[in-house]
């Protein structure tokens, strides 16, 4: 890992960037025999500004929404060359490029059954272009295109359930992970790589700039998202819920207090109740409550 860094220092991510942590863990878990197709976004921009590249593995960026399709082409070429069994293919992108503009390409890739691992780095907005709201922005979040104001409490739509959408395609493995749980993420990537077929892992990655918290709070914010039930960590294997991280649920207010993007909710108990309901729903749906 250190002699041949697959994700090199010297990239220009913000200090404490959750996505940088996750991307590094992902590629180190996948190993040197991996080809990566990357969507446009923070990760692509801060790792590959000509003439620098942070990637020690073969890496390609094409457009904003097509890494799943580009990876499909890479996978087909490797199959043609007879090399697919010894080389992993990863397609990755942010929440916007995966769940919004790239949903079609992702769906096609899953439906065709390519042997590709798709990683979605979910920082819950279009961060690279200035914190605009995406389909995966949670309810009531303050973003630049869903700002809170006199007539709005922020983003008025629920978070698009992309892991569920992927699971509905009947693929062998779907998981959620978090930058706050690095060993869990590594385990899930290694597990996914060992399975043949399309896999999807969505990683919750705090963005200190967009979420407005201190860089050294990255871990605690990520953990609170999971411990409140707002970001359940689970694994689907062949369509069946096989695993989830059980929690002793903390009140959502602790999570909201820790970030500037929810500041407008702190004196709004009505909205906090709605968010608590979302968390309670997740707890019920995925059976997250840790029995004493």
């Amino acid at each position: 890992m250190e002699n041949n860094p697959l994700f090199r220092s010297g990239h220009t991510a913000c200090a404490g960037c959750g996505q940088a942590i996750a991307a590094r863990l992902v590629i180190e878990a996948a190993g040197a025999n991996t080809i990566v197709a990357n969507n446009t976004g923070c990760l692509e921009v801060f790792t590959t500004k000509y003439p620098d590249s942070a990637w020690g593995v073969p890496w390609i960026h094409s457009l904003f929404e097509n890494s799943a399709a580009v990876a499909s082409g890479i996978e087909a070429a490797l199959t043609y060359l007879g090399k697919k069994d010894s080389i992993n293919v990863i397609a990755q992108g942010g929440d916007g490029s995966t769940g919004d503009i790239g949903l079609q390409a992702l769906s096609g890739m899953l439906e065709r059954g390519h042997d590709i691992l798709y990683i979605c780095y979910d920082n819950e907005a279009y961060m690279n272009t200035g914190v605009q709201r995406s389909g995966l922005t949670p309810f009531d979040t303050n973003t630049t295109t869903s700002p809170s104001g006199a007539s709005s409490s922020g983003n008025l739509r629920p978070k698009k359930p992309v892991p569920e959408i992927c699971n509905a395609h009947g693929i062998p493995y779907v998981a959620t992970a978090s930058a706050g749980f690095p060993q869990d993420l590594t385990r899930k990537v290694k597990k996914a790589i060992s399975i043949k077929g399309p896999k999807y892992i969505q990683v919750h990655v705090p963005c200190p700039l967009g979420w407005r918290h201190e860089s050294n709070q990255m871990l605690s914010v990520a953990k609170l998202a999971v411990d409140t039930g707002l970001y359940p960590l689970f694994e689907y294997e062949n369509g069946v819920l096989a695993n989830r991280r059980q929690i002793t649920p903390k009140p959502v207010e602790e999570y909201l207090k820790a970030q500037g993007r929810f500041k407008h909710l702190l004196n709004n108990p009505e909205e906090i109740k709605k968010i608590q309901a979302i968390a309670d729903n997740n707890i019920k749906k995925y059976n997250l409550r840790l029995e004493a």
Partner: protein
């Protein structure tokens, strides 16, 4: 004719992001370290190196001073101290 196109990572120098630090830097106390490697795992820059107990260190050429390593250390063996000089080599 070809222009700027692809990059060989081995020829890539990267940016000396250690110069970004203005407030704090991580100080590795080397007292209670149990070599759990969490600091090495969690660093967004991948600039923490080490193998043995009490022998982990951050490469200050690249460390941005984010403080996540200090936050994750289970033994509180990494503390954030005021930045003195920038880009000093180990």
């Amino acid at each position: 004719m070809f222009g700027p196109l692809n990059v060989d990572p081995l020829k890539s120098k990267g940016v000396k992001t250690g110069s970004w630090r203005t407030l704090l830097r991580p100080h590795y106390l080397h007292k209670e370290c149990i070599a759990c490697r969490m600091c090495l795992m969690i660093c967004p820059e991948g600039c923490v190196h080490g193998k043995e107990k009490n022998a982990f260190w951050a490469d200050y050429n690249f460390c941005k001073g984010c403080g996540v390593c200090a936050d994750i250390c289970p033994k509180k063996d990494i503390v954030m101290v005021v930045e003195e000089s920038k880009g000093e080599e180990k």
